[in-house]
């Protein structure tokens, strides 16, 4: 398969001899182990082949989300390889992050050094994505993170990281003003006690206060990440005079909270809003319990932007279900990056990262690009309400759209400056 000698050899030479490491070594101890490598690095004309490592959480805490990421990416590979619109051919190798940073880095090493990958896509949890950020810079390979935490393209950004996932700042932009102006000004914040929860608290709170001067925080509570029992917080919120509860939590935490809130009748007393409420896994798990709540929208299969409907149809015909946001991220990460490979006319990551930033291209969301200064895709976001659907999966009605350029705060505010 990928066991091609020159590929292998070249990647040996790349190993840990990345630019930063190289400079450090050359400065202090002289260069060892580099001889004989320079010859094997060659640019190519049209028709390059790149090896993409799909490194998704197939086991561990995010094992319910990883497989969709991978399906989306695999669909992109089929489209790219079959389409005349792309010069580049893509081969894939796969790995399992196990939702663990140590395991993820080890798997990444294997994909790069053993299987010859020079492009990586995957991970959802922020600690794993941040570990892979460092790995990508060190190895000088392109990495598309699947995590939504701001620091991935904020304080921890680097020139090799390109993100098509919508980050939490973009979502906060979509939900804050609408919540303050339509759902209530007396707000209770409940967050899971970790980086994501804190970022929702800080960002949504300040954006809500910017949007409406009457916003008043009547209470703030925190639960441990992964907690399964939220009765005490629900009782506290019910016993307060809050009009809206903003939940800074994701996945199982959010599902359990809303399910228990529904059991206690909290929906009748306050509006419930969470930036991640409309996610397909959340709606699917909650069923009717989610109906009547509000949330940010990163992606919906019914969107008519860009070539979304072609994507949805192709995905449906393969998997007999609608793609979710993670599938979209998998699909678009590969497609946007390979457009950059085409434009650079070279499979070398160092060439591609010169070409890709700011390059305008057609995507599922219509015209889009990786922003120059932080390599974050300028995705639009929406405010949505969960409504009755057909069958077990409730639907989502979009209430307000925020355009891609408006949703993304300036780079300086997010802590990245790639120029």
């Amino acid at each position: 398969m990928v066991d091609n000698d020159t590929e292998e050899n070249r990647n040996h030479c790349r190993s840990r001899s990345g630019r930063r490491a190289f400079l450090a070594a050359a400065g202090a101890a002289g260069v060892t182990g580099l001889s004989g490598c320079l010859g094997s690095i060659g640019g190519g004309g049209g028709g390059n082949t790149v090896t993409y490592g799909l490194l998704n959480p197939m086991s561990g805490a995010y094992s319910s989300l990883g497989p969709n990421q991978r399906r989306g990416a695999e669909l992109a590979v089929e489209h790219i390889n079959d389409s005349d619109a792309f010069d580049t051919q893509v081969e894939t190798v796969t790995g399992d992050t196990q939702t663990d940073s140590t395991a993820a880095v080890q798997e990444a090493e294997r994909l790069v050094n053993r299987n010859g990958a020079t492009y990586l896509f995957g991970a959802i949890s922020s600690s794993v994505a941040l570990a892979l950020n460092e790995f990508a810079a060190e190895q000088e390979i392109v990495y598309n993170p699947g995590g939504a935490a701001v620091p991935i393209t904020g304080e921890a950004c680097n020139e090799f990281v390109f993100r098509t996932e919508t980050n939490t700042a973009q979502i906060a932009e979509a939900v804050s003003a609408y919540t303050a102006n339509n759902l209530g000004t007396r707000v209770w914040f409940h967050i899971a006690d970790y980086a994501y929860g804190e970022s929702v608290l800080n960002r949504v709170r300040s954006r809500m206060q910017d949007a409406n001067g009457n916003v008043e925080v009547v209470g703030t509570s925190r639960s441990q990440l992964g907690a399964s029992n939220y009765d005490s917080f629900i009782s506290e919120i019910a016993n307060s005079d809050a009009e809206v509860a903003v939940l800074g939590m994701t996945g199982g935490d959010l599902i359990n909270f809303v399910s228990q809130a529904d059991g206690q009748g909290l929906k009748d007393q306050v509006n419930i809003m969470s930036p991640t409420m409309t996610f397909q896994t959340v709606r699917g798990a909650l069923g009717d319990a989610a109906v009547g709540t509000y949330g940010g929208v990163r992606y919906l299969p019914k969107l008519t932007t860009g070539d979304n409907q072609q994507f949805v149809e192709a995905y449906r015909s393969q998997h007999d279900e609608d793609p979710d946001n993670f599938a979209r991220v998998g699909y678009e990460s590969l497609r946007m990056t390979v457009r950059g490979v085409d434009a650079a006319g070279s499979a070398e990551p160092t060439d591609v990262v010169e070409q890709l930033p700011g390059m305008e291209m057609d995507t599922i969301f219509g015209p889009n690009r990786f922003r120059d200064c932080d390599h974050q895709a300028t995705n639009p976001t929406w405010m949505g309400e969960v409504v009755e659907g057909n069958g077990n999966l409730p639907g989502v009605e979009t209430l307000q759209k925020v355009e891609g350029t408006d949703a993304l705060p300036p780079c300086s505010e997010l802590g990245c400056d790639l120029g």
């Binding site: 319910s64 600690s127 798990a285």
Partner: protein, 659 residues
């Protein structure tokens, strides 16, 4: 009045979750009390209950919830009986330690089977309309479902209590949990009751799983999230005590809930603090009978014989040859960088970690379930020193070792006064305290961990970056650092074990009382071993962080403690090289399974996707068929061959321990 209403709310909330804990802990406690089985798979029975209920409810349509409530636990009881009959039974008479390896394997298998059948996505279980919404009693409104959970829990707890106290079966089971030998001497075949007890324990857990499914999502991780609280409750209440499980379960539920709303800082910590305090005051738990622990039959701890097929000179030569091969081969043969610089380094790191555990577990008989504490603290210390103080790898590792020995001294001081499973649980509690704590501070990086700015160097204040120096054939210098640490750790441990210190440790493991009678300060010796072990584990953690390029809370996850115990038992406890070998085999097998997804053949790809289950099956088979670990494999094979050719005796029963 409002405040009183809020408090009443919280107490009811606590009782609701407490009842689920009672169902879980009661089964676990009875199983341990009667059978001495430390059942890590208990949480999976809980999850299976929820999943079976899901399927039964869907299959039977309206009213399915009530059918599921009856049928799902019975199905799980059948699974439990099968598990006991085919996997647990071959292990009776052996030390409970082996159940850790066995049930750890079962957890992996059951979890993968669940994902295979139901998929990884979370489900929500539709409650019947009668149980939705709130009900008002005396002007006070509260969730109907919570009342329902409390009611079901109460009913089952009372039923179980009556069965235990008023029936002949209950009498025998209670007698068995107090003194199995005596029951046997009275002519009762206690073993026949084991299947029943195990199945009943699984049934109780499954009922808990079914009722919790109405409150939270049903997902593959739900077993993991309850197993630690369940163990804590069992230990708090006293092993084998049904009353303890009930009181402990309700108390933990209520305390957890109240602390969550009134002292939120302590959330996640309070349960562990509670357990540590209770065990320090009452080492046998609230309702445990100290005499039961005294009458501990223990079972055979199958440490490996020093004799056997290879004599000690041969073994020494083999060891030296192996180290020489590790040192030279990568330089001569152009091995792929991944195998040398990543896989081999990670094997050295885990070999060192397993060695450190073996020092306390295989020699002093202390089963530390919290050993990940030192690994994690070592990793954090290394990263924090490099990021904030000096970039030198050597300084950072030295600080890591120093911090870990200090932590080990304190934890050892507090923990070693309790013994057996209580020791395992108190060390686990300390590890979980640290795990929860790193989320709460800014300087530890919270849930994101610390990855940026971690660039250790070989010099004292600067110099070449650690991962940048490559020797001939792409071998990194760091490979030799890790190899030296593993070999150095081994030589240090061997020196200790061969010294009088080591003889005392082994004497303690064989009989603590006799060692004390001879005049040794048993506690002091154990504590010293624990401190050395903590330092070595800290070094392993520091090296691991360097390999990963940073640190995150996953470094303190209790599952790593489980993994290192598995490696140690897999390799063979009570030898120093066995656990190191176990680490190597574990990681190589895992790597092979993981890489199968790129193998091409569909069959192999499917096996690669089932890697956790495959690994689990391997453990189960291993603990049943090769109980003394990998290092005993040559002897086991030799004795099989001997027996087949009709000659020779079986291997010596009372084997002496050596390095």
């Amino acid at each position: 009045m409002a405040a009183a209403g809020a408090l009443f709310d919280q107490v009811l909330n606590g009782l609701t979750i407490g009842m689920v804990y009672v169902l879980l802990a009661a089964g676990l406690s009875i199983v341990f009390g009667v059978m001495d089985v430390i059942n890590f798979a208990h949480g999976e029975f809980f999850a299976l209950g929820a999943y079976f209920a899901l399927s039964v409810a869907i299959a039977t349509g309206p009213g399915g919830f009530w059918v599921a409530l009856l049928v799902a636990p019975l199905l799980v009881a059948v699974v439990g009986a099968g598990v006991e009959r085919f996997t647990v039974r071959p292990l009776y008479g052996r030390n409970p330690l082996y159940h850790i390896l066995l049930t750890f394997g079962l957890v992996l298998v059951i979890k993968d089977v669940v994902e295979l059948v139901w998929g990884p996505q979370p489900y929500q279980f539709a409650k019947p309309p009668v149980l939705r919404g709130t009900v008002e009693i005396l002007g006070y409104g509260y969730s109907v479902y919570s009342y329902f959970v409390v009611g079901v829990g109460l009913l089952i707890a009372v039923g179980t209590w009556l069965a235990l106290t008023r029936t002949k079966y209950g009498l025998i089971i209670r007698a068995g949990s107090m003194d199995r030998g005596m029951v046997r001497n009275l002519g009762i075949d206690v073993d026949r009751y084991y299947t029943l007890v195990f199945a009943f324990g699984a049934l109780l857990a499954a009922v808990g799983g079914v009722v919790i499914a109405g409150r939270q999502s049903v997902s593959p991780g739900m077993g993991d999230s309850v197993i630690i609280p369940a163990f804590i409750i069992v230990v708090l209440g006293g092993l084998g005590s049904f009353r303890g499980a009930v009181v402990g379960g309700l108390a933990v539920g209520v305390v957890q809930t109240l602390v969550r709303s009134y002292v939120p800082v302590l959330e996640g910590l309070v349960v562990f603090l509670l357990m540590i305090v209770v065990l320090l005051v009452r080492p046998q738990g609230l309702f445990g009978n100290p005499e039961w622990a005294g009458a501990d039959e223990g079972g055979d701890l199958l440490t490996v014989s020093g004799g056997g097929v290879f004599d000690s000179t041969l073994r020494r030569r083999a060891g030296a040859a192996l180290v020489a091969a590790f040192a030279v081969v990568p330089l001569l043969v152009g091995l792929p960088s991944y195998y040398v610089n990543t896989l081999a380094v990670s094997i050295f790191v885990w070999a060192l970690f397993a060695l450190s555990l073996d020092l306390v577990m295989g020699y002093a008989g202390l089963v530390s379930l919290g050993h990940v504490l030192f690994y994690g603290v070592g990793a954090y210390a290394t990263v924090l020193v490099v990021v904030n103080l000096v970039p030198s790898l050597w300084v950072a590792l030295a600080v890591a070792i120093a911090v870990c020995t200090a932590v080990a001294w304190v934890v050892g001081h507090l923990s070693i006064r309790v013994s057996g499973v209580y020791f395992s649980m108190i060390t686990l509690a300390f590890a979980e305290l640290f795990h929860s704590a790193v989320y709460k501070f800014g300087w530890t990086g919270g849930s994101d961990g610390i990855f940026g700015g971690f660039d250790p160097t070989y010099g004292l204040v600067g110099g070449p970056a650690v991962r940048s120096i490559e020797l001939v054939g792409d071998v990194e210098l760091f490979y030799y650092v890790a190899l030296a640490a593993a070999v150095g750790g081994y030589l240090l441990a061997r020196r200790l074990i061969r010294a009088p210190f080591g003889s005392v440790l082994q004497a303690i493991r064989e009989s603590e009382d006799r060692t004390a009678f001879v005049g040794y300060d048993v506690t002091a010796y154990k504590r010293r071993a624990f401190v050395v072990s903590g330092g070595l584990a800290g070094l392993a953690g520091g090296l691991s962080a360097t390999l990963t390029g940073g640190v995150a809370p996953e470094f303190l996850a209790w599952i790593l403690s489980g993994e290192v115990i598995v490696m140690t038992i897999l390799g063979g406890m009570g030898t120093l090289y066995g656990p190191m070998l176990g680490a190597g085999v574990y990681l190589v097998v895992k790597d092979v399974l993981l890489s199968l997804t790129n193998a091409g053949s569909p069959l192999l790809v499917a096996l690669g996707e089932f890697w956790q289950g495959a690994l689990g099956l391997l453990f189960v088979a291993f603990v049943i068929f090769v109980p003394e670990g990998l290092v005993s494999l040559p002897e086991t094979v030799a004795s099989r061959i001997d027996r087949r050719s009709g000659g020779g005796e079986t291997i010596a029963e009372d084997a002496e321990v050596s390095d």
